[in-house]
């Protein structure tokens, strides 16, 4: 039944025409223009000549920009890892909750999406700043106990405007993107396999490592991809929460399109990021193909 459309090509063509057109006009065509710009050169403040030269890419591969790209990959990787480590138990807990609790837990995970990212980031700033909620609560506790034992006055923790804040903010924003695919994979998991494993003498850890993780691997891979890629291109979070050395590659790209007014170079940097993304997706599809062949 799933292959029915192959027998009805005209129907398929009619149904797919509008999304294809949409994709072509609003995605592929603009992308192609920007790709063209990446081989171009500014000829005036507002005009770009596409001359096929690779100067922008050569400049983008300078150690200065590669180091920033490397740092972005590191931030995104760290974010993904933390999301995975924290998200897995959460996804397991949701899977094994009663249906009623499950609905509430899923709602809690998705609730932040109802608020704009910019607003959430500003809210995070109010929480983290040196006179923010965390420091105020700590100061209250410290000074309360401190008066009894005669400790030094509270020194606010530096939580905002540093690399910690950037990774913290990215984890906060990306967390649902990790939990939801994990949950989807775990929910489909046949629980009798877990029971069988436990019955046949494997401990909880062995069952987790040898049964749960391999079976939920597709969920882990898609969770990692949908967390890693947006983190790699994060712009708002490092911009607002970051400190003096937190700029990520997207911040450099933004500056090329605005203050530096150098669209060709900005386009080259964007596409460098895009090539990396393609590479990540390629690895995923290779992995899933190998798994498919093995199965």
């Amino acid at each position: 039944m799933t292959e029915d459309w192959k027998q009805s090509r005209p129907l398929f063509a009619v149904l797919s025409a509008s999304p294809m057109l949409w994709l072509l006009v609003f995605f592929l065509a603009p992308l192609a223009i920007v790709w063209g710009y990446s081989f171009g050169e500014n000829t005036s403040l507002t005009e770009i000549a596409v001359n096929g030269r690779l100067t922008n890419y050569a400049r983008a591969l300078k150690p200065l920009y590669l180091a920033i790209l490397g740092k972005s990959v590191w931030f995104a990787g760290l974010t993904t890892l933390i999301c995975l480590i924290v998200g897995f138990p959460v996804a397991v807990a949701i899977t094994f909750a009663t249906p009623r609790t499950k609905a509430w837990l899923l709602l809690l995970i998705m609730l932040p999406f109802w608020t704009n990212l910019l607003i959430r980031t500003y809210a995070l700033m109010a929480v983290l700043r040196s006179e923010g909620y965390i420091n105020a609560a700590l100061a209250f506790g410290w000074n309360g106990i401190g008066q009894l034992v005669g400790a030094r006055a509270f020194v606010p923790l530096d939580l905002l405007h540093n690399n910690f804040a950037v990774v913290f903010g990215l984890v906060y924003v990306q967390f649902p993107f990790m939990v939801l695919p994990l949950y989807a994979a775990l929910d489909r998991l046949d629980r009798s396999l877990i029971e069988a494993s436990l019955d046949l003498g494997a401990g909880h850890l062995a069952t987790f490592a040898r049964i749960v993780v391999p079976l939920s691997l597709p969920g882990i891979v898609s969770g990692v991809i949908v967390t890693f890629i947006p983190s790699l291109g994060a712009y708002l979070t490092p911009d607002l929460l970051g400190g003096t050395n937190s700029q990520m590659i997207a911040n450099i790209i933004e500056r090329q399109f605005k203050s530096a007014n150098d669209w060709p170079f900005g386009a080259a940097l964007s596409f460098l990021l895009m090539y990396l993304t393609f590479a990540a997706i390629l690895i995923q599809s290779l992995l899933s193909r190998r798994r498919g062949a093995a199965a």
């Binding site: 920033i68 607002l240 400190g243 700029q247 605005k258 150098d262």
Partner: protein
């Protein structure tokens, strides 16, 4: 360059996106044959409390204001063609850039009789000889905003933000690439104009050395960071600091003794403006003495309008944050737009500082 609170600017940009495409509510046609509407593209907190409603009461023209956060945003927005703005408020260097790109319409001075209200010094400008394309709205200087109780005396040198660990961890520096390099050069004894590449290198080395002591490179929200207590010393515009000084007497502003960069925000009519006659009427209205005084009362930036200034209370006229002392102003200069090569050089220099 008031208050570029990114949040509000972001919301403004979104609002602009909706409002300009929304033409379902057509206004009536005025006596000049133009639809009784005006699209103003402005900075945030940059009009008087009742400026726009007063204009509507007087002329019947409804003003729809959209906000931008910085000049780059303005330029990027207009670059692909005017999306329907009638009046914009770029700074002096962007008047040059917009002019060079043929993106401005000449001002018909016959329609702006209130031009005579401007102080003589502002009736002409090197970046726009004869004021053919731009009418001065405010002028502004960069300086140091500080919290008096946390800083020893008056921090009247750029040294305290660019070249000293005395206020380590409490310093905020304005991240605008061009201005950062210029002020660094000014501290090193050069003009803010034509900073030669070796001096740019010197500034880069100095700021990389200084970085461990800088808490944050801000995007013109320095006054908020200062008011919130995140930092105690910040490079900011005088008007922004004057606005928060009104609420917090522990804050002050100083133009360092080396001098600084002066800017001027101007009213311009972008090429392709749908209602140029309304635009002229609006500009003339803003230059009126009483209207101008109403604006200055709210935005607390220095006004180039002599007739409006005469109506202002002494509290504004003698405010050292708004009008820095003459000897400091004498050492300060306007910046020029120095071409794309220079912009690229400066951007890469700042990328280097941030990445170090």
């Amino acid at each position: 360059m008031p208050d570029r609170r990114s949040l509000l600017a972001g919301l403004g940009a979104v609002a602009a996106g909706f409002s300009l495409t929304d033409c379902s509510t057509r206004a009536g046609v005025g006596a000049n044959g133009e639809e009784a509407r005006l699209n103003l593209y402005n900075w945030d907190t940059y009009t008087g409390r009742s400026t726009l409603t007063d204009f509507r009461a007087k002329t019947g023209i409804a003003v729809k204001m959209s906000l931008f956060g910085n000049n780059d945003e303005l330029f990027a927005r207009l670059r692909a063609g005017n999306p329907g703005f009638d009046v914009i408020v770029p700074s002096n260097e962007f008047v040059t850039r917009l002019r060079q790109s043929n993106m401005l319409m000449p001002i018909d001075h016959a329609k702006v009789p209130n031009f005579a209200n401007l102080a003589a010094a502002f009736r002409d400008a090197p970046f726009d000889p004869g004021r053919r394309y731009s009418i001065p709205y405010t002028w502004l200087v960069l300086g140091l905003g500080y919290r008096k109780s946390k800083i020893d005396g008056v921090p009247d040198s750029w040294k305290w933000v660019f070249d000293s660990d005395r206020y380590a961890g409490r310093i905020g520096v304005f991240s605008e690439a061009d201005d950062l390099i210029r002020l660094g050069a000014k501290y090193l004894g050069h003009s803010v104009r034509d900073v030669p590449p070796p001096v740019v290198r010197q500034v880069v080395a100095m700021l990389i050395r200084q970085k461990p002591f800088i808490k944050v490179f801000h995007h013109d929200e320095g006054q908020d960071l200062l008011a919130a207590g995140d930092i105690d010393l910040v490079v900011e515009y005088n008007g922004d600091i004057a606005q928060v000084m009104a609420d917090d007497p522990d804050l002050d502003f100083v133009v360092p003794r080396e001098g600084t960069l002066i800017n001027s925000d101007c009213l311009c009519i972008p090429a392709g403006a749908p209602r140029p006659d309304n635009a002229h009427r609006f500009i003339n209205f803003v230059l009126d003495a009483h209207v101008g005084a109403g604006i200055s009362q709210t935005i607390r930036y220095p006004t180039p309008n002599a007739a409006a200034l005469a109506l202002m209370p002494a509290e504004y006229r003698d405010n050292r944050a708004i009008f820095p002392p003459a000897n400091r102003m004498a050492r300060s200069e306007y910046g020029d737009f120095e071409g794309m090569r220079h912009a690229q050089l400066v951007d890469e220099a700042v990328t280097e500082i941030m990445a170090a």
